[in-house]
Symmetry: C2
Subunit: 218 residues, 2 copies
DNA sequence: CGACTAATGTACTGGACAGTACATTAACTT
DNA sequence: AAGTTAATGTACTGTCCAGTACATTAGTCG
């Protein structure tokens, strides 16, 4: 018997050692744990425990807790950028396009709470880590580019007010959608409305569309 | 000589020991440090260092780090509630009243970043601490009560849409204003617009007014 | 096969940090 | 003035935790 473990031999023979997989697994688990507990709250030992490897590997592949967190941040933001590039509202008329963008952003945020938590955590730390990720700064967020196009069309058609730019709209939409996830707990406790409850989704999604359209066409 | 220290005798003789002052000082410093570093990041020793007393007193007056943090949260929220009660827009017509409320909220948030940081921190912890402060839940936020009145007037005058309640409006305004402060760092880094810069204040303040009025009257 | 290196595991260390034991002093009471 | 208690200070402890020294094994290449 050459194969000792797996019953179903894969194309490449089952490896007991796989640098890429170990690295990727550490990154995935670290993302979860950092999002869960924050930077100070996260424990290197806890991250290691949830993988099939040991703490030693964090230092081998990343260098330390801090560099691991930096990798997590970088990876998370790149993932979001990629998702944003899939946004396509070119076929809709401007008013419907901004409504759709707002609603898609809402859905996207609601389904990626882990990312929002990382953003919050990073802001608690005054962005001291993200500022070191030069790679993220260079490329503007795709979401803003898309908005820019829609706004230009809307203004040209005389449907939108003129004193609002893409970043303004992005700010309003982001604020709303991030808040849904980031402040769910205090808001829910203080006002008795659970922003995460499925039965509130439709109302909350429609609302941001109404807000943006009402504002731009007001 | 009966008075050993002070040169200027006050009405009540200068006390070397003053429970109230010690407690208050600890609370004030703790508020700053917790807001600065988060719950896990804050150090009991650091808090004590910044007062004229010692760590020992934290345990004497509050019981421990956790109870100190609870007191900080409670105190901060009560302060905000009190500030909200000063809101008075009864003399304005509904449209101007909501605009004013939105802009006042903006100013208030921008000038209380420490509070916003505490809220963010609490949400990172999934509200596990604030949920234990029963006293906060009971009284609804004054801001919502005020909004409720203005909306009623606006709907009666046929100026506002009917499908929006006070909490909806509060959510939209809060989202925007909290985001300004809470996500300043990542937003500024990623999009190159500093939400905290004084030269952006007027634009950002006006914008939330426009958003809410446009939405409600759309 | 044997040598070499990349990858992994184990067991430990040094410092940080929340919390405490114990002593002491200031103010109040009678 | 003496006794009592509230308030405060000092010095310590036990634990947690990021990081590391050192050993070992798996895969690769000649």
């Amino acid at each position: 018997m050459l194969v000792t473990t797996s019953a179903a031999p894969s194309e490449r023979p089952e490896r007991q050692r796989d640098a890429e997989r170990t690295r990727a697994e550490l990154l995935a688990v670290a993302t979860r744990v950092f999002a869960e507990d924050g930077y100070s709250g996260a424990r290197v030992d806890e991250i290691a425990e949830q993988t099939r490897t040991t703490k030693r590997m964090i230092y081998y592949y990343f260098g330390g807790k801090e560099q691991l967190y930096l990798s997590v941040l970088d990876h998370a933001y790149r993932g979001i950028r990629q998702a944003e590039q899939a946004l396509d509202v070119g076929h809709l008329d401007p008013v419907e396009a901004v409504r759709r963008l707002a609603e898609l952003t809402y859905d996207h945020h609601v389904s990626h709470p882990e990312f929002i938590r990382l953003v919050s955590i990073e802001n608690i730390h005054r962005g001291e880590f993200i500022k070191r990720l030069d790679g993220l700064r260079t490329s503007a967020a795709p979401a803003v580019t898309v908005l820019d196009d829609v706004l230009a069309r809307g203004r040209a058609a005389g449907e939108f007010r003129e004193d609002v730019d893409a970043l303004d709209v992005h700010l309003v939409i982001s604020s709303y959608c991030v808040f849904q996830v980031a402040n769910r707990h205090t808001f829910g406790f203080l006002f008795g409305r659970d922003l995460g409850a499925p039965e509130n989704r439709d109302h909350l999604r429609t609302m941001i569309g109404d807000v943006v359209v009402g504002w731009l066409t007001g």
